[in-house]
């Protein structure tokens, strides 16, 4: 060997030297110019926040204020009328009084809450079930030996290269044939087999030694015991990452819900939002209501992101770079 250090030593050294990745050259002074260079970043930050700011403040403006040209940056008076206007009377028209978000959809049981409930129900069902069947499959694929395993795994991985819209039309026809249009079945069942989850969890499981599983088998554990007692706990970090991705992805899903729902009561929040926009198109007075609905649609995923931020970033790094 030509090197003085063994490979293991080099690796160890590498690890020691590895820091947060940012490297400051001790010979170069931090100057005032470098602080000035931060200004564009702060300006961009304003652009990033502006839509959220606008969503929140407009939903709290009165109908009258929404119509002002040019629009006001700060609401003169914060009101809740866009969500629920106590002055609203369905039988008589009053100027400057809007039907609040939760007063709309009078024919729907629970009104706007119905969409929120749909979204939550669909989302939670998909996330739990897809992780369950996905992790079962990943366990079998990574720790069992049987005929045709490689073939199955190849097909699963290969399917990830196909954009999902390719199956859009037959998927829709299938739902029609099953009589599932406008039902929760059409939302949940087709969304369950997610190739990426099986791929990701299988990759994760290959780093777990087979001996763990074999030892449990020798001790007489059944396969389901092994799955619940050994595999699931070991998979926890990977499962959390996948849970967050699935939940956020499904919450914001739009095209599939759009084609499988025609009746209003089965809409999820994104579809309800699009319908709301199309119904009140152009009328500036309804913008406050639309912004309120947008805000309600955005909050759950943002909250989930904040609650799980650490897992989230780690998950992205794991799934993206492995």
């Amino acid at each position: 060997m030509s090197t003085l250090l063994s490979k293991a030593e080099i690796k160890r050294n590498d690890k020691l030297m590895e820091r947060s990745g940012s490297f400051k050259n001790p010979f170069e002074r931090q100057s005032r110019a470098s602080k000035l260079r931060r200004i564009p970043i702060y300006l961009l930050t304003v652009v990033m926040i502006a839509p959220y700011y606008w969503m929140i403040t407009s939903s709290l403006k009165s109908v009258k204020e929404l119509q002002v040209v040019p629009p006001t940056l700060f609401p003169k008076k914060l009101i809740w009328g866009n969500y629920y206007d106590t002055r609203f009377n369905p039988t008589s028209f009053q100027q400057d009084v809007m039907q609040g978000l939760f007063q709309r959809y009078p024919d729907l049981k629970f009104g706007f809450f119905r969409f929120m409930m749909n979204s939550f129900f669909v989302n939670i069902s998909i996330t739990c079930l897809t992780l369950f069947i996905g992790s079962l499959a990943a366990y079998v694929v990574s720790k069992h030996r049987f005929k045709g395993k490689k073939g199955i795994y190849l097909v699963i991985i290969g399917s990830m290269m196909i954009p999902w819209q390719v199956g859009l039309i037959p998927g829709f026809l299938l739902m029609d044939k099953f009589g599932w249009l406008n039902t929760f079945w059409a939302y949940i069942v087709p969304a369950l087999p997610k190739a990426f989850i099986v791929f990701f969890l299988t990759q994760y499981l290959t780093s777990i030694p087979d001996e763990l599983v074999e030892a449990a088998r020798i001790d007489g554990a059944t396969e389901f015991t092994i799955y619940f007692r050994i595999i699931l706990p070991l998979l926890k970090p990977a499962l959390i990452a996948m849970m967050i991705f699935t939940a956020i992805g499904e919450w914001n899903n739009f095209l599939w819900p759009l084609i499988i729902t025609t009746s209003q009561d089965m809409a999820t929040l994104p579809v309800a939002l699009a319908n709301l926009k199309n119904s009140g198109a152009g009328n500036i007075g309804t913008q406050g209501v639309i912004m309120g609905a947008s805000l309600i649609t955005s909050i759950p995923t943002i909250a989930l992101y904040f609650a799980t931020q650490k897992h989230f970033i780690r998950g992205i790094a794991l799934s993206g770079l492995k």
């Binding site: 590498d14 079962l136 859009l168 039309i169 026809l173 993206g320």
Partner: protein, 321 residues
């Protein structure tokens, strides 16, 4: 030994106390079947059926009992490629959009990652802010942009410009502006995601390399050019390919911001028509299901070819060195 016990996997041979590793019976299939069955019915079948449909004439007129009526061979594809002006428009729009969104997106995410790389408190907050759009509902955001780009005086951009005495501009009805607006929206929504990937890539570069370079007298520019860029190549390939695939599938922005009268998509003179919106339009507005399936397969072919070229290109670039 009774057969049922032999089949169950918890069984351990009495004689040796060991069981072959591969001896997994019915439980293997029990555990695998939920996924595989659903996968076959809802992932594999639709793709294959869509390939079959793409060779069929299948529309509202010719299907009395919900079944395709007759093969047209490559007819759908021939029409798409040689005769359909709307599809050509959709293709060229998508191409411009993808090139713009992916290249600018890469530049934006890499610059963000570089400027927010240092692990300080303010950087951590800024990273969160830039990442926020990636977890926000696309529809909700598009609705805000719809207000920003409104054509009248209430539109935010127009209101801001009116300070400088500019008359209201019809942003969403000016043909050449549609794609830049969509690119801007994709930058706003996607740069943060790329940034996180680039940050992970930057963090995996050992500081030792930079230290050695400094000792050898390399300046910041050289360090970036000869250490950071080459070592980030895998991340760039990943960000590039996922970005391309995502950009080809753009739908929500076009659907909500560029409707054309009733029952069509694409905006004024199809200025914002893209592949997936056109697929939706053909399939669910015009009910030409065979034709829409052909569009879907063209989309797949394009994405496949572009990703392969991207992979090959970066590979051969690596071989060059």
């Amino acid at each position: 030994m009774p057969k049922s016990v032999k089949e169950s996997t918890g069984d351990v041979s009495r004689k040796t106390g060991f069981r072959k590793f591969s001896d997994v019976g019915i439980s293997t299939y029990l555990m695998l079947s939920p996924f595989v069955l659903l996968f076959i019915v809802f992932s594999v079948y639709p793709v294959l059926a869509s390939l079959r449909l793409s060779f069929m004439r299948y529309n509202a007129i010719c299907n009395p009992d919900q079944s395709p009526c007759g093969s047209v061979g490559f007819g759908n594809y021939a029409t798409l490629i040689f005769h359909d002006d709307r599809f050509h428009k959709a293709l060229s729009n998508t191409a411009i959009y993808v090139v713009g969104a992916v290249i600018l997106g890469m530049i934006a995410s890499l610059s963000l990652a570089l400027s927010l790389q240092e692990d300080t408190k303010s950087n951590r907050i800024l990273r969160v802010i830039f990442f926020l759009p990636s977890v926000t509902s696309g529809i909700a955001v598009v609705l805000v942009w719809g207000w920003v780009f409104r054509g009248d005086g209430v539109g935010l951009l127009n209101a801001m410009l009116s300070v400088f005495g500019v008359h209201p501009i019809e942003w969403l009805a000016t043909t050449w502006m549609a794609i830049p607006i969509l690119i801007f929206m994709s930058l706003w929504g996607g740069a943060g995601f790329g940034m996180i990937l680039f940050l992970a890539g930057l963090n995996s570069i050992p500081a030792m390399y930079y230290e050695a370079a400094v000792i050898d007298g390399a300046g910041p520019k050289q360090r970036f050019r000869y250490i950071t860029l080459p070592l980030l190549r895998p991340v760039m390939v990943y960000v590039g390919i996922t970005g391309i695939i995502g950009a080809f599938q753009i739908f929500e922005g076009v659907y909500l911001l560029f409707p054309t009268s009733v029952g069509s998509i694409g905006g004024l003179r199809d200025m914002a028509l893209m592949i997936v919106p056109y697929l939706y339009d053909s399939g669910f507005n015009k009910f030409r299901l065979g034709y829409a399936s052909a569009i879907a397969w063209v989309l797949f072919a394009i994405i496949f070819i572009v990703s392969m070229i991207n992979l090959k290109l970066t590979r051969s670039l690596e071989d060059l060195k």
